[in-house]
Subunit: 338 residues, 4 copies
């Protein structure tokens, strides 16, 4: 249930609502807007409680039953679009934020060269994987701690925030010390122990959509982060699993307008993992910007042919530079910029 307090409602009135909720064994979360406070009533039994219980309290203006399983990520809970701020780069505003870099950090040379190239072309955040979740235990799993160190070095050298994946709840603190943004990968979207720890870290998060999860499940997973008080959540569409096999995954372009209606959270798109082939990346990236995405997450490798992971879907620096020019034009056509 979402309770809208009257404009300028007193702190006491809000406390009353909170106490009533707690007396019923329910949790609460407050959204102290600039002119109106909104209270989310949480718990799996809210369906059995009459809205009147809250409607009768003083200075309560509206009580809305949210039948969606997600509450904190819902637009009803927070009318204004959320902005996520990362070391001065804002995600969710007029500027479209491009995060680019190699799939996996492989060496200092590779990372530095990639960082230099993507920065020169206008990317504002550097991506790079230190811990790689791989389907087989016998594949390359990233440089791990060594990779984190290199990311810190690149961040300092180029003054770019870095985004990197965390795969183990036990490692969240360690990764959070190096990363500007934590990434929760597709296979971990419903890894609730990980989500809880990442929520507690209070770090900005990129929450990738599970490749077989509905948008509703995705926003409910975001609630795990938000419920820990971490409001710095960026959603990332990266393709869903379908029967079509000419691409690795099918990018769900409609997810962009659906999320914009249903949620206040910013959404970015990863065209590289969806496509699985570099030649398809530019068209999908342009489409994402035209559809209203707030950013992109793109794989760029100085030498894709020698990449240890996912070389086929990585752009070369010069392909990336060309794409950025295209994206600037498309961004402008929808009233935004890069």
């Amino acid at each position: 249930m979402i309770i809208g307090m009257a404009k300028g409602a007193s702190r006491e009135a809000v406390d009353n609502v909170v106490k009533r909720a707690e007396s019923l064994g329910l949790g609460v979360q407050l959204n102290l807007g600039t002119d109106r406070t909104v209270v989310a009533i949480l718990g799996s039994t809210t369906g059995q409680i009459s809205t009147d219980v809250f409607a009768v309290l003083p200075e309560v203006e509206s009580v809305t039953r949210i039948m969606k399983p997600y509450k904190l990520a819902a637009r009803e809970f927070k009318g204004r679009d959320s902005l996520v701020s990362v070391d001065g780069v804002e995600v969710g505003g007029k500027r479209i934020v491009v995060m680019a870099g190699p799939c996996a950090v492989e060496s200092e040379e590779q990372l530095m060269e990639a960082a230099r190239a993507v920065k020169a072309s206008g990317a504002s955040i550097l991506r790079g994987g230190a811990f790689k979740p791989r389907t087989s235990p016998f594949s390359f799993h990233g440089l791990e701690e060594k990779g984190l160190e290199l990311l810190v070095r690149a961040r300092e050298a180029f003054g770019m925030p870095v985004v990197t994946e965390v795969v183990d709840p036990q490692a969240v603190d360690m990764v959070a010390r190096s990363a500007s943004i934590l990434q929760v990968g597709s296979r971990n979207m419903q890894n609730f122990a990980l989500l809880t720890n990442v929520g507690k870290s209070k770090r900005p998060v990129v929450l990738k959509r599970g490749f077989s999860c509905t948008i509703t499940e995705w926003l409910t997973a975001a609630d795990y982060l938000l419920a820990e008080g971490n409001e710095q959540v960026i959603l990332c569409e990266r393709g869903i699993r379908t029967f079509e096999d000419s691409t690795r995954f099918s990018l769900d372009i409609s997810a962009i307008p659906v999320i914009k209606k249903a949620s206040h959270l910013p959404i970015i798109v990863d065209p590289s993992h969806a496509a699985g082939h570099y030649s398809l990346v530019p068209a999908i990236a342009r489409a994402a910007v035209a559809a209203g995405a707030d950013g992109l997450l793109i794989e760029v490798h100085p030498n894709p042919k020698e990449a240890l992971v996912d070389g086929l879907q990585s752009l070369t620096p010069s392909d990336f530079a060309r794409l950025m020019d295209q994206l600037r034009a498309v961004a402008e056509s929808v009233g935004r910029y890069i």
Copy 2:
């Protein structure tokens, strides 16, 4: 197998290739390009025949085994993009062609009003269903012949070509007398009797993708049309069936660059059926143009709330006008126009 003749190869040399193929029980189809002839060798047994059989013939330059099941729709068969010309409107060129109108023709007033509105906003082709394939036998199936008459009247009144669906192989000739473009719907993409008759009609065709068919199957279905000598084929992506339920279907945006690589045929996008909700149509339409689609097929109804079919996904004339302005800007950003 695709056989490339040498530049300026003689007619006799081409005939030799044809005869050799026929002696092996195989079919052939010629693409007499301006400077080079290409011969497609057709039949399910080509896999068992050595390429040398043709490579040794005079003036044969190259013999390529096409492992894809489609042959005539393949880019290997025809290097240049196909242009489909409909009463002076060209699909597949620099101009992005917008086909718009009601899902079903309901009455003269409704159709005329829709036609006037979409023409005023810049659509170049009028869409409208006279025969509606419906999942239940007890639903409205369209005005049928009466609907065709109204389409002819609208075509003449507004000077716009019309596109309308044909659902029965027995009705192809009748529909072809009224329609500028025949549409084969998603549920009929593998209705081979219908495809054959539509191929024989030599009318321009919009071939919608089966909602659960792969791109490979789609291009193979196009081969049915092309094999009858009908080269006026326009592909239409309209969403595929996935587990996601916030949209009716999931528009496969990646199909656009995949088709552009694999085939010479133009591709348009139907955002209305994919989305299932008018509020999502503009974002998907913009994305399609940015990704490189050659056109759009959009449902517009003078009064969506009273539509007999699919009202929820229809735009009002004023929504459509606003969308066309957006699309003009996006088209320009990718070097095209509407």
Copy 3:
């Protein structure tokens, strides 16, 4: 809406209901049960009509709104299981009916040998395709009329009913002259022109599930057949398209109990097309019988390695004989026999 008349209601009372429905522009279909008449009220506008309109009429006992789009295939319309009788073989009773034979009729020798073998092992109906819908126009499409002739010869020689596919609405009459059962294939489940003609033929029909159609859509397609007065409908589950690629399709075993709850129609299972590989057929066939299927449709070829179509999924006669022994045991364990 489904209207249950009182036990022993007069013909006049039933007529009253029919007239009232027709006055509202609605269709009706009667199920004259042995002790109670049920009237289905048909049309897409029944949702707007109050149930009271019928409840007030004399001898009307109950009025139930069916929110499912299918009506005639619904269990609510006909409480008792439908039995389909084909030349003395009953589908839907205690006996599990096995239909077996080659995917495509290739020659008299092949067909006769297959028929002899499957009959010897206990199959009661012979399957064999004369018209093959193929994804490519350049593949083998069956022996067509010649194939029908051979089927008639085999039917007579072995005294077995034959089931064969019809793919073109124009060919229904021709095929119906030779076949004991018409088969509508997966790709044609929503080919409404074909369904209408097959319905009119009044021949027993095997209606295969569209490989991407929901059970609800399947039963609604059955309504097309039933609405033409053809009650001889056998449903056939043959696998749905999913992301899993170790089998050609994923057999939806749950469809069996779902159909048994939702509909009165018998359901059989085609393990061959689902599996795509002969080695998987026995396990799936046993599972189908254990789950409650009323029959099986199995591909058997005297020499699978030389089959023109789908050899990999065909059983040899000796594999089939072994499978039949297994199936007899499983059938008995669920209180049925073969």
Copy 4:
């Protein structure tokens, strides 16, 4: 690569193979069969190494390149079926093992009543969730440690091994102290940190298939457990996500014969989560046994209407008793018993 040593090869010869592999930076895992040793060569670069490198070594009989990404779970690595032994109950043998009990442990009374009932009907292992992964952070997440204590009590009271889920890599040791079998849930099939810790625990594991993971990915996930030296792995098919919405998931019945061909690991089936409705459970359970499953995992609740989680898919004790009778008959029909 899989290296088969000659019958009776010396320890020295095996060591030679191991050393050669290690000199190339590759890992190895041995399968010391009773009459023949098999060596799996592990690592993502095995594709680049010639088989001759090993074939030339003394007493090496065969070198097979396994192109499948999974190695230790492959039948090529271990010819004989694996048997998993849990406190005297053997999974993978002639006896079909039924694991039954409530979805979530709710109270001592509930658990004891369920345990008594399922034991009386012939279940050999008790299931019950103490830690429940839930899509929403505001849902009931299980009794946690308290739930584990109750499971231990039930195990002792009824002498039945217990299986319970572990969701957090940090909690593996704690859960392993109480549980006879650890369960890795569908959403965690690719939670590699969890798999690694569960592998290290050396406890018997039920590894549920990710609801959108291919069979190949599933076996590759099993490799994570096997690579830690934990050979007590039981696979569990529990339904995959498809477009069909009449069931919660679509049980992939074909997975049973596919796994039996591809792997040596035992496979059980969870009909309850797949179906999502108690009325469909018996048919699916019978099908699983007929198809060759080695066991079942079934939800039984003393009072499903008051279940805190998944009541709709739970059987009552009397329904379960009836089902067990059916299953005994089906098991016997395929040469097994319960």
